[in-house]
């Protein structure tokens, strides 16, 4: 403690100020930690509660007083949930719609961002504006007309019906364009001199250099497709086409109140993969989500 104080004094000898007495500093520190614990508890407790309930026996869930730790931990809820609803199928549907939904978004964003960043076109600013304006139309208000379009195409209750209406991408295009613009000109020039075409430049020069931005953008797409609820809810009408969020919702409707353990286990089927992804890619996800705010 003393050494740090001395150091500070040495660096800023001009600054004369009253020093806090260490005791009150300690008080502040303790208060800080206490508040931190309370905040983390408030955010974390619901998840803890969910995990605990999914390991409790049904009898224990419906007995008072409530327990904070399962008396006899059991996996029964997980197997019961898996049997109560076709979760294997839900996983498959969610994987397919997430993989292709996010995949199409990434490819569209790569090509659009490349065009906006490097290719010449008359009135490019208008094209840019057209993409930007799409950000201002929330997908929620398009549901009725889009439902009619998808019905006319005969795509109700199909994978393409779930995927295609949400496949266009504006935010990701701007994220990648920003990254592409930062690629040094000399590198592009060198590739051009070597006779590389635009496709080669995009995939073997620009994409490797901007890989972090592309990964960030892909992760945002994946998380949002995995969690998507309103559109798949509307456009699917049989159990075997439901994605996980819709499946868990219907599981709650059929098993909730009477069988919370099973419903919580089913919820974990969906939450755990996202949380694991988040654990490993926390920085990329947070950076991608805040990109618009700090620079905007």
């Amino acid at each position: 403690m003393a050494t740090i104080n001395e150091l500070e004094q040495a660096i800023k000898p001009v600054v004369v100020r009253r020093r806090h007495i260490p005791l009150s500093l300690l008080g502040w520190r303790i208060a800080g930690y206490l508040t931190l614990i309370v905040a983390v508890l408030i955010i974390g407790l619901p998840v803890y509660w969910t995990v605990m309930a999914s390991f409790k026996e049904t009898r224990e869930i419906y007995s008072l007083p409530v327990t904070w730790w399962p008396a006899k931990p059991t996996f029964n809820n997980f197997s019961a949930a898996w049997e109560a609803a076709p979760f294997g199928r839900y996983y498959l549907n969610s994987f397919i719609t997430t993989f292709f939904g996010a995949g199409i978004e990434v490819i569209l964003a790569l090509f659009s961002a490349y065009a906006l960043a490097y290719l010449r076109f008359p009135r490019k600013d208008l094209v840019f504006l057209l993409l930007l304006a799409a950000l201002m139309v929330p997908t929620e208000i398009t549901i009725v007309p889009n439902y009619l379009t998808i019905a006319r195409l005969g795509w109700i209750n199909t994978y393409q019906g779930i995927i295609i209406p949400g496949a266009a991408i504006a935010y990701g295009t701007f994220l990648l364009r920003q990254a592409f613009m930062a690629v040094p000109h000399e590198i592009l020039e060198a590739a051009r001199v070597d006779g590389a075409g635009h496709l080669r430049i995009l995939f073997s020069v620009v994409a490797p250099i901007t890989q972090p931005a592309i990964v960030t953008m892909a992760l945002l797409s994946i998380v949002s497709k995995w969690n998507e609820f309103l559109w798949p809810l509307i456009v699917t009408n049989t159990t075997d086409m439901r994605t996980l969020p819709i499946g868990v919702f219907w599981l709650r409707n059929s098993e909730g109140l009477a069988n919370w353990g099973v419903v919580m286990a089913g919820s974990l089927f969906l939450i755990v993969p996202v949380l694991i992804t988040f654990l490993f890619a926390q920085r990329a996800i947070v950076e991608g989500m805040t990109a618009g705010a700090v620079k905007g």
Binding site: L36, T173, P245, R252, V263, S267, V294
Partner: protein, 306 residues
């Protein structure tokens, strides 16, 4: 007098190369724009048309009624009630998110141990599915076996029947919404705090400003652009909040948690009234467009004069 410079003759090869580049541009960006045209811009225009017809999705013809749907909507007390509830939900959620988010960000900006773990926990609900978060909370709100009843029991209170009580349903929705989205506000505030120049704090210290004065005169003004951005974005996301309401309360009990976006879903896919759904879509769009324009104006002013 301006000097006349003859237009440079372009080499035919350059011209062809330029045209090839135009074509490539169109090919690269075309699919994205096409999808936006079909699934974003066309629906917007089609909503305007739908809002002026009477149609139940089944009959082969739509009846054109002009502005009658708008007149019907705005002369219906239920519609005003829904607008009022959307406003209540939005103002409470945004207010709580902004204030709690600021407090949490200030705390997480301190050099405390396990700070990064705490940040990760606080942010984690943001990446979870809103629908499943609502499923989990419907158990937490269970008036007999739920977590909240348990916690209220510690201080000798009885849990209300949150989701079945017209008074408590809206607070329940707001609690879940704030719980899920708080982490986003926190990381945005944290980024804003990082952007406040250190020198400002040092200067304030030299001037003899205490911790409270530094917060009031340096931190808060420094955060105001971020707070503005957050408030507009949060309002916009509140208008789009569907999953939590659909799962937690289904708009009820007795309409108590029906907001504009939920009303739109209900009209379109429960009561099959295409015309009224169109009206709600247009009203919702205009409100959100207005807010976005306000935000863009503000950011432009910041860039120009800031």
């Amino acid at each position: 007098m301006a000097t006349y410079t003859p237009r440079q003759e372009r080499h035919p090869n350059t011209l062809r190369r330029e045209h090839r580049e135009w074509l490539l541009f169109a090919l690269f960006i075309g699919p994205n724009l096409f999808l936006f045209a079909v699934f974003t811009y066309w629906p917007l225009l089609y909503n305007i048309y739908l809002s002026m017809v009477r149609w139940d999705f089944l009959r082969p013809t739509m009846t054109f009624v002009g502005l009658q749907n708008y007149i019907d909507a705005f002369s219906d007390w239920r519609f005003w009630n829904i607008i009022w509830q959307t406003a209540t939900f939005t103002i409470c959620s945004v207010g709580l998110t902004l204030i709690l988010g600021l407090l949490l960000a200030l705390l997480l900006n301190q050099p405390l141990r396990y700070r990064n773990t705490a940040r990760a926990i606080v942010f984690s609900p943001v990446v979870m599915s809103g629908a499943v978060v609502a499923v989990v909370w419907s158990y937490i709100f269970d008036p007999r076996y739920g977590l909240i009843d348990q916690l209220l029991g510690f201080i000798g209170l009885d849990s209300p029947n949150w989701l079945a009580d017209p008074f408590w349903a809206m607070p329940a929705v707001i609690i879940v919404y704030v719980w899920k989205n708080l982490g986003y506000a926190v990381v945005i505030y944290l980024a804003g705090l990082q952007n406040i120049p250190r020198e400002l704090y040092d200067a304030a210290r030299v001037d003899g400003a205490g911790a409270w004065e530094r917060f009031w005169n340096v931190t808060l003004p420094g955060l105001s652009p971020v707070a503005f951005f957050l408030s507009v974005t949060s309002v916009l996301t509140c208008f789009q909040a569907f999953d939590i309401i659909r799962v937690l309360t289904n708009g009820g009990p007795a309409d108590a948690t029906t907001t504009l976006i939920f009303h739109l879903y209900e009209l379109g896919f429960v009561s099959y009234d295409a015309g009224k759904a169109g009206v709600v879509a247009i009203v919702l769009f205009l409100i959100m467009l207005f807010l976005t324009i306000v935000q863009i104006r503000y950011i432009e002013r910041q860039v120009t004069y800031g």
